[in-house]
């Protein structure tokens, strides 16, 4: 277990470092430096002013020096300063993180519940027609765009019926509606993979043995099918974090919520490169961290993973 742990954590750190390096190089590939881009976003600027600001932000240094300085600063927890507001990037992102975590976390939890409920219902429903209908729900959820559903619900609930505020007002509905909108979308791939897994498990001989022993359908589903099918769904859950983040950005815009979504939008529209860099790095880190967590959970579901040399959990699980 210890070796597996060290291996996975080492891998995760490597991925974050590579992501950081790629972001740095991508910024260098822009036709001009972040300061020039930022300052020319509205009107002509004096070259002297550009030069001054460049040297203040260290963009006049040789590439390697910039890279090492930024990396060293980052290790100290300093991600530089936002060009627009002058605030440290960590503060700007930190201020918005809570709201997004609340939205994304609730949505992820809700998505898991929705996925489980749909799969359970689609497996256990008494009528075959109903089972088929329920099994078609996940493709429907993933086909409905997040922004569209959000717009329709706001038009209906807020503008026509007047039961929901267009702006977040701290009420239950003003969090619940965006959470459900996001959760439906996020639940779709999980439910689909879980459903496929459950169907596969049902084709295995041991299910017949259980049936012959007189186990109830619910017992078979909850105690045996679900546990055996959970591995791939867990891997999907890890990958879903990317969808969740993109979905949060859209949901926050539609529901006028503060959070990373509006920071991303502003950072991109105002060409605030240090802030964009910080956001991309954060996204990469969160993605890697969640997938690391998923990998570490896998052995608990299936101890065989620990015995597989070089074994990547998702590869074995799928």
């Amino acid at each position: 277990m210890g070796r597996y742990l060290a291996h996975r954590i080492g891998q995760a750190l490597l991925v974050v470092w590579l992501a950081y390096t790629l972001i740095f190089l991508a910024v260098q590939l822009l036709p001009s430096d972040p300061v020039t881009i930022f300052l020319t976003s509205d009107s002509a600027v004096d070259q002297a002013a550009i030069d001054t600001m460049k040297s203040q932000y260290g963009y006049d240094q040789p590439l390697l020096v910039q890279y090492l300085q930024q990396l060293a600063a980052l290790l100290r927890g300093d991600a530089g300063f936002s060009l627009t507001s002058g605030e440290p990037v960590t503060e700007r992102i930190g201020g918005a993180l809570g709201s997004t975590l609340a939205l994304a976390g609730s949505a992820l939890g809700t998505a898991v519940v929705i996925a489980l409920a749909v799969v359970a219902a689609a497996t256990l429903a008494p009528s075959p027609v109903l089972r088929r209908a329920l099994a078609n729900l996940p493709p429907l959820f993933s086909a409905v765009p997040v922004f569209w559903l959000g717009l329709v619900l706001l038009e209906l609930l807020s503008i026509r019926l007047g039961v929901l505020s267009l702006f977040p007002d701290g009420s239950f509905l003003s969090l619940a509606v965006p959470v459900v909108v996001l959760a439906l979308h996020v639940s779709a791939p999980m439910a689909q993979v879980l459903l496929k897994g459950v169907e596969q498990v049902y084709r295995q001989p041991f299910i017949n043995v259980l049936r012959a022993k007189g186990a109830s359908p619910a017992w078979i589903f909850y105690r045996h099918a679900l546990k055996n099918a959970a591995g791939p769904a867990l891997s999907i859950l890890g990958i879903t974090v990317g969808t969740l983040f993109a979905g949060s950005v859209i949901t926050e815009t539609v529901f006028a919520r503060a959070g990373l979504g509006s920071v991303v939008l502003q950072a991109v529209t105002t060409q605030d490169v240090p802030l964009v860099q910080g956001l991309v790095l954060l996204t990469a880190t969160v993605f890697v961290a969640v997938n690391l967590l998923v990998d570490l959970l896998h052995p608990l579901l299936d101890p065989r993973i620990l015995n597989a040399r070089q074994g990547s959990a998702p590869a074995l699980a799928s």
Partner: protein, 565 residues
Amino acid sequence: MVSPAPTGRINGRISGHPNGPRTPLRIAALFAAAALTLTGCGSGAQGGSAGANAANAQASPAGEPVDGGTLVYAEVTPINNWQTQAARFYEKSNVLNSVLDRLTYFDPEKGEPVPWIASAFSANADSTEFTFTIRPGVTFSDGTALDAAAIKANLDSFGHGIPAAQIQPNVDFAGYQTSEVIGTNQVKVTLDAPNSNFLRATSSVTAGLVSPATLQQDAAGQSAISSISGSGPFVYESEKPDEEVVLAKRDGYAWAPEGADNPGEAHLDKVVIKYLPEVAHRAGAVQSGQVDLVRGLQPVDEAALAASGNQVVAADGVDLTVNMAAVRIGSGKLADPAVRQALQAGIDRQSIKDTVLSESYTLAGSVLNHQAPGFVDLSADLAYDPEKAKKLLDDAGWQPGSDGIREKDGEKLEVTVTSSNNSVVIKPAFELIEQQWRQIGVKLNNRAGDNTFLTTAMPDPNVEFYGTRQFIYGGLGPIFEPANNTMTHTSDPELNALFAAERAAAPGPERDEVLAAEQRALVVDKAFSLVLWDEVQVYGAHRSTHIEFTSGTAPIFQSAWKVDG
């Protein structure tokens, strides 16, 4: 028309506004609006919109102002940098307008600056020295006095920037050298070159006055609205970052611009600024009463909002250029003025108005707004004439290729436009221009509204068109003149001479003559600006909201009120 005679502080067109027409210009505008209503009614879709404008005549509240209440205003995107000189975007200037006072106020009806914090001002003959007399008794909201020393500190920060806080000089303060305090209440500004636009520049929100303590802060401090202390009719109360800013009325405010409707404290107790990035909800937000005022209404929503008994208000951008496709010649394809003139003649502006705009929009007659001082009407030169366009292109050596797109020396006449997504109408407008130019053999790659592309396109002179409009507080010079200007990326010696002459000319007939020559050069002879429509910001206002606007399209919350308080 029960209101007392109002003064020159109002801007914003609603036909049958409770304050009514007061000047020949306004009466003319009303007739024009009536005429548009008549013609509009006969033309299908546009009839709805024009009729709607008439409908909101009844909706707009009349009577005496009501004191008290909270006005909820929805802006387009959140802002987290409130530093004065950075207020070149509506999201910022619309809020800072009520927090920061300025030395002067630009009166669009007089067409000149009038006294505000400067109770008197004068310039020397060659516009290199300006003297401001500071109104006594004005204080910043942090309690310090807005005196001559504070003015000097502010002017220095505009003229030179604040290097320690990474704050750049104000682009409209060209030639600023020094300020000195004279006597007890006067400040003399010296420029190193004539600039007759200087007074106008002091009326801009980007020249808003802040307390000396605010100027001492670092970049983050000066960018945070919580730490900005101004002398305006509203003061910061609270903020939820990226969600809302709450402003409260400043008790004891008594220094509104000369001739203001309301010389003293604001009628409203509070203004809450919220953000509504989603364009589809803006009309609904007003209709359902969740906001009292919203900016950035789509033309398609105007009719429905007015039909619901609420108001569609067009705030004219007198302080701005018109919306245009500014031409860059870096790619070489548009280096020949004849090609640019052909594209100018190949735009059917009326059809843009009929298809993607509304009656709230006025087609451009020049690079300046119709009400701007010195405007000359060049609409005769802007007539849609595809045959003339084709002939110009033929003569310039661009011959139609097999696919109908013109070619010269193996290169296709394929051009690209960039713009931000801030304007709700610019992308559809360029979609229509794309079709119109196809008729004359020109291919337009429409990247309007793509903010990611804009990042790289803005500093790139090879991207042929930049769709935008700009503030003109410093005249047309700062926009088109410097070699690194973002509009054309072209420094034209003849134009530069005109811009220099504009700054040196005395306000009045002499400057108007230079302005006319500038407009003719930019629009007709050199065709660096393919003009489209006068800048206007279309607001939606609830039926119980009384609101007027500055000539920079900012809402004036100080004189606003709500029927139900």
